[in-house]
Symmetry: C2
Subunit: 355 residues, 2 copies
Amino acid sequence: MYIMIMAGGVGKRFWPRSRKDRPKQLLDIVSDQSMLRLTYERMKKIAEEKKIYIIAGQNLAEVINREIPELPERNLIIEPSGKNTAPCIGLAATTIIQKDPNAVMGIFPADHLITDIRAFKKAVNQGVQFARDHVALVTFGISPTRPATGYGYIQVNTKEPAHKDNIFKVKTFAEKPNLATAQRFLASGEFLWNSGMFIWKAENILNAMKLFMPEMYESLQQIGMAIDSPKYQTVLKKQWATIHNNSIDYGVMEKAKNVYVVRANFDWSDVGSWDAVYELQKKDKNGNVLIGEIVPIDTENSYIYSRKNLIAAIGVRDLIVIQSKNSLLIVHRNESERVKDLVDLLERKDFSDHL
Amino acid sequence: MYIMIMAGGVGKRFWPRSRKDRPKQLLDIVSDQSMLRLTYERMKKIAEEKKIYIIAGQNLAEVINREIPELPERNLIIEPSGKNTAPCIGLAATTIIQKDPNAVMGIFPADHLITDIRAFKKAVNQGVQFARDHVALVTFGISPTRPATGYGYIQVNTKEPAHKDNIFKVKTFAEKPNLATAQRFLASGEFLWNSGMFIWKAENILNAMKLFMPEMYESLQQIGMAIDSPKYQTVLKKQWATIHNNSIDYGVMEKAKNVYVVRANFDWSDVGSWDAVYELQKKDKNGNVLIGEIVPIDTENSYIYSRKNLIAAIGVRDLIVIQSKNSLLIVHRNESERVKDLVDLLERKDFSDHL
């Protein structure tokens, strides 16, 4: 089994710690190790190291090499630019199939948190077996523990497992719901969180791309033929420029008929915002997470981070405060999704020293 | 008339901008000039420059000279250490009376804000005239415009002016009231805000000190005899060490029988907290005061100051945020009085680099 760690994200929601040259997956936001390192270590438990690949943009190559120095040079696949998950996975599959036409590959984002390795390993093994034996696109659905509105959902018919008790044919994908809908999803027992992790034969995902994204498939074919030749970079750049941004969900998964989901019970978070980071951390008796030289007075349920300045807080409730380099963010915990909008605003206003 | 600007305060409530070597009165918190400069300019409108003195601790001598370079060297009176207002005023009176036994002196804190110079000048002139003609300790009471709980009050019998319509004998001094009491004070029409500004003959305040603070008076006599002699510094230090901390209100004003108040109508603020600064400033349409590189999203009724870092705020309400040097303060507007407690805590915890 080949592993492809997608490490190309930007992670705008983690500004001001995430910057253009150090996105979320390279930050130690959930432990004292970077999310990429945590993911790499997790993958070492389920695959041989030489079969673990990382795919990311050129701008991150150096920092990834520093973060995972043991990664063989050939195991870092470079995207000329970020084009969302479909082209990324297409390039990964095109690269892997050159090495092994029968390769089964797992796709895992670098910036998700999973701590129950045993349950993770069990679910992955089930997925690998199913993907090896079937013309199937296998995704992972997490049994929801609360009516989360920040995740997409996958609907299955729980009464008809496709394989053993744990693998189901996907009925529909559902967008992030509102709270009432999320509560209905949870109550029905038919919905799982869409984790964005996949397992399939490289051959099968490329065939699905041929069917649903034929232009991209054609470009990928050109790129594939150039692999290991001197003109690879030239062909890659030329073809990549013609490929449209698209997510694997929109581009393939929601259209394909042969999509299956492994129902998994491991703890999982996509760590999608500063508030999610707050929720994942151990709090002190006032419900605070305080990192760095922080002096709180009458301050509750807040996340305050500073490696530089002293931060004193008086009478503060439900805030996230992040000091990093030349910038400081103060955001109400309920609003932490909007940090992305803020970064977009900073881009428009040309605050390039702060991005 | 001699003017004594008391510039010796610490201004802990303005941390992290106020520091040991740059207290509140040296900060440009209410305009683009320091409060000391604003006060000095105001005093130039009512007295000759050579008769304007500043009194402060040795640690502030250099920064005061830089702030008011035109101040004659002899017009800066140095307190060996801060001992509250009674010793400060005692030393000032002792110094002035050496120059002019009949001197009338006005005492003005360096850190109050008054913008209506005309009304101020009128009230001071009334006070000077009364203090010249009577054995009277004259204070200034501001006609209250709201039931403020942050000020002390002075009660007078409004039906019996002691002089013209505007000068009254003081009945009592009242401590900072709670809201209900402040509302009663306001409704009665008998209470004025205690501004902490005074006018009297140097002779009369020293006589009051002789009566109510005889030990301090004795020390001041020793100091007075040494003025202009080579042993002045030695005597000052020795005597000063024996003087107890005390405020002029507790030490003299609340005990003396000859206390009068000029009822003044000028705008006045003692600028007692960051929230007071916020209240004094012009707000934008969201009720914010934003100074420096500040990027607000959905942020209201807040004061955010940074000359260094960019500060982004999302979903923030009623906060004061101050970035200064190596420290950042975040305090709810209702809690800004407690910044003083915070500074005390930092002192106890030996955060000396931040004080």
